[in-house]
Amino acid sequence: MVDLKDYKSLYENKWCPGCGNFGILAALKDALVKMDIPPQNLLVISGIGQAGKTPHFLNCNMFHGLHGRALPVATGAKIANHGLTVVVNSGDGDCYGEGGNHFLHAIRRNVDITLLVHDNRIYGLTKGQASPTSDLGTVTKIQPHGVISQPFNPLAVALSLGAGFVARAFSGKIDHLSQLIQEGIKFKGFSLIDILQPCVSFNFVNTHDWYNQRVYDLNQAGSVPDNIDEAMKYATQWGEKIPIGIIYKKEKPTFTDRIDVLRQGPLNSRVYDSKRLKTLLSKL
């Protein structure tokens, strides 16, 4: 049995005290332990930003790559070894800004990975600039007159692209988030969990209390929408009431399911066969 201490990293944590990331890390560990996934069987891939550091604070296989590029790395890893359990830690800037194009195409491919977007609606690592999810009017040192671009709605975009698992969570509800992560990992296909989290250093509007007063569990009645129209309503609900939970869930063949050559086993365990190449060369 996997124990919480198996995931204990000896590496010093570098987040600000009170950061929403702590809740996400705790929920992730809890989910992995509950699913009995040992660290040896887990691959966490991350981009750049405070979220990108997450796997350093776990004890597991990890690849901490470039800003915005975690999803292509994850796609490549799944092609090489499609049996891998892959979790991606990204942030609102990393995933929806720098890596926006990869976000669109990872959904189109339906790569079987679980994407956790630590969405604090601000740039933390670079000290407080607006992010793609910042509200209109958000004032920062770079946007002194307020943000003039509309916020990016990751849930609506994911739904419109046909994502099979779309969820929203709040870093303050650890048990709920753990449950969503477990569902996301179990789900065969691309799963997006956009995690609302406070930034104690730079976002003084969307605080822990601000979220706590607004979020409600949309799956409370035990139902999970598999209807796009209903899901879109939750995806676009924001303000006094913010739904958290699984907004949409519907399985379909994954990216690697559709690649015939992978049916004979993971690419990284296949054996080089010089006879095949000799045959090919003899036909030239």
Binding site: H56, G65, L66, R69, P72, K78, V261, N268, L277, L284
Partner: protein
């Protein structure tokens, strides 16, 4: 009299130039001649001026010849553009109303003859038939080629093309052509292959399992060929959303344990440079082909260049080891690509292969066979290779700079990798000692990598004068050496395929032997000349540089060198 005939087929894009060219090329190859063919086209699908140039010879040829013996003008523009290249006794085949007092024009109504078969589309077979008739090829040989090419399209299409071929053939049968030659039924001298296909085959020979790419001329052909093999090999080729995704996918696949690949041109390679650095700092092996075209930015999309040498050596910020190769022939491209996969894996570094539009798109006749490796050496580590897998450190400091590379989720070892500067265990570190030891560790590999580098290839290397080039210009340079030597010039050449880490130990003595050496490159600043000066302190006495986007003709190099020599 040696046979060395050049045929140019020109017209608008979409007129079937390639089809005519391929039929003639196949007829020549299957009759035991050496074939070289290149094509020049504009960045458009229809219209403009394109041409396909075929050289048929009884001795190996690896460059285009500037003399044209037979010009097939599918439109009047082709005649006007190429007529000055016609050699004495050369013939222009055309159906257009073109008049000339100086050139011998043979009017053949390609389309009218094609209509007799009931299908205008067979005009290409008519044209090819007329060409081969003038060249003296037996009709039966040509009919065999037509049958091979069209039998899968059904009896009706095949018969129409056979009829068209014969109509074209008979239309000019009584004409005499000064450059007609004897066609013996000899077996093929080698395989007819373009550079792009050779690289794709080389990737298979390097046990490439994953390729990610974004379409870009002139690299796309490499991925098209690779994809055509992918049903028969454990290989996945994925079209990425952009070049940034392509290189990051390749890195992810390599990290998870398969040899991976991407190919692009200069603009796409620009987008890949941050990923190149990621491969560098994470010590993840990957192979990247940069099929060069003139730049910067979009530049000339369908033309050729050698402008990315210094860029590929220096691409991405800061310093990390990499390999850079530039093969000269298809067999060498095949072997170099396979070798690049092995070396990238062995040293856990990126390897870059520089080719160009001229090389990827030209057809060459191979002069030695492609060999399939019997085994592929495995350079990764498993738990059995690691003393204490639970204490595994991905970036363990070693004398060679190469650390045992375990794969994620394969054993008990946890593989921790970061593109941030890191400690031996892979976690981020900003400590001065870690920074220095990791930079030193990565760059320590260069000592062993340089020993893997082949010396520049010498051809008449003991001469007073040497021409120095790299990659695809080898064919034109070597032929220019033959021409100059036949004029009594004591000249040879050195051609670099292995460029980085720079093979100083073998290059310095090879260059020093000559009284003078001249650079021959397809860029404006003589990039290899700069590199040689930087690395050896030796300075070229001059250079022959071409950056108009078109390949070198051997005669251009001869003229330039003759001019330089005369000035002295």
């Amino acid at each position: 009299m040696a046979i060395d005939i050049t045929i140019v087929i020109g017209g608008q894009a979409g007129q079937g130039i390639l089809t005519v060219g391929e039929l003639i090329t196949l007829a020549g190859q299957k009759s035991g001649f050496y074939i070289f063919a290149n094509n020049e086209f504009e960045s458009r699908i229809r219209g403009g001026h394109s041409f396909y140039q075929i050289r048929i010879s009884d001795h190996p040829v690896e460059a285009p010849d500037s003399n044209v013996h037979l010009l097939v003008a599918l439109n009047p523009e082709t005649f006007h553009i190429h007529k000055t290249k016609l050699t004495s006794g050369g013939i222009v085949l055309t159906e257009d109303a073109v008049n000339s007092a100086t050139e011998q024009i043979l009017k053949v109504p390609f389309n009218d003859l094609a209509e007799k078969t009931g299908s205008k589309i067979t005009a290409n077979a008519v044209a090819a038939g007329a060409c081969l008739s003038l060249l003296g090829a037996p009709l039966e040989r040509f009919k065999e080629i037509i049958t091979e090419q069209f039998h899968e399209k059904g009896t009706e299409i095949l018969n129409k093309n056979l009829m068209a071929a014969e109509l074209g053939y008979q239309a000019v049968k009584t004409e005499s052509f000064k450059w007609s030659f004897k066609w013996n039924p000899d077996p093929p001298k080698g395989v007819l292959i373009d550079g792009a296909k050779a690289i794709a085959l080389g990737a298979i020979a390097g046990d490439c399992r994953m390729a990610a790419f974004y379409p870009m001329s002139p690299a796309t052909g490499i991925l098209v060929h690779l994809t055509s093999f992918s049903d028969d090999f454990p290989l996945v080729v994925e079209q990425a959303e952009d070049e940034i995704a392509a290189i990051n996918m390749a890195i992810g696949a390599s990290f998870a344990g398969v040899r991976s690949f991407t190919a692009t041109s200069g603009g796409g390679f620009c987008l890949m440079t941050e990923g190149l650095g990621l491969a560098g700092i994470t010590e993840t092996p990957i192979v990247i082909v940069d099929a060069q075209r003139p730049g910067p930015a979009t530049g000339l999309p369908t033309r050729t260049a050698q402008g990315d040498l210094l860029f590929s050596i220096h691409a991405a910020q800061d310093e990390f080891p990499r390999f850079v190769f530039a093969p000269s022939t298809p067999v060498e491209a095949y072997e170099t690509t396979a070798r690049a996969f092995n070396l990238a894996d062995k040293y856990q570094v990126p390897a870059i292969i520089l080719v160009d539009k001229y090389f990827t798109d030209s057809l060459f006749t191979t002069t030695r066979p492609f060999q399939a490796p019997d085994v592929i050496q495995n350079f990764t580590a498993t738990d059995e290779d690691i003393a204490d897998p639970k204490a595994y450190q991905r970036y363990l400091l070693t004398d060679s700079g190469v650390s045992p590379r375990a794969l994620p989720c394969v054993g008990q070892s946890l593989v921790v990798v970061s593109g941030n500067e890191h400690r031996e265990d892979g976690h981020i570190s900003e400590a001065v000692t870690d920074r220095i030891s990791m930079v030193d560790k990565r760059n320590a590999k260069t000592h062993s990598m340089i020993k893997e580098m082949n010396p520049p290839k010498a051809y008449n290397g003991e001469s007073e004068l040497l021409l120095v080039g790299w990659g695809s210009t080898q064919g034109a340079i070597k032929e220019s050496i033959d021409l100059l030597r036949s004029q009594g010039v004591d000249i040879g050449c050195l051609i670099f395929t292995d460029l980085w880490p720079f093979p100083y130990d073998t290059s310095y003595p090879a260059l020093s032997k000559a009284k003078r050496f001249f650079m021959v490159e397809q860029n404006r600043s003589s990039q290899l000349g700069s590199l040689i000066r930087e690395q050896t302190g030796l300075t070229a006495s001059g250079s022959v540089l071409k950056y108009d986007g078109r390949p070198f003709y051997p005669s251009e190099i001869v003229e330039a060198i003759t001019r330089i020599n005369r000035k002295r």
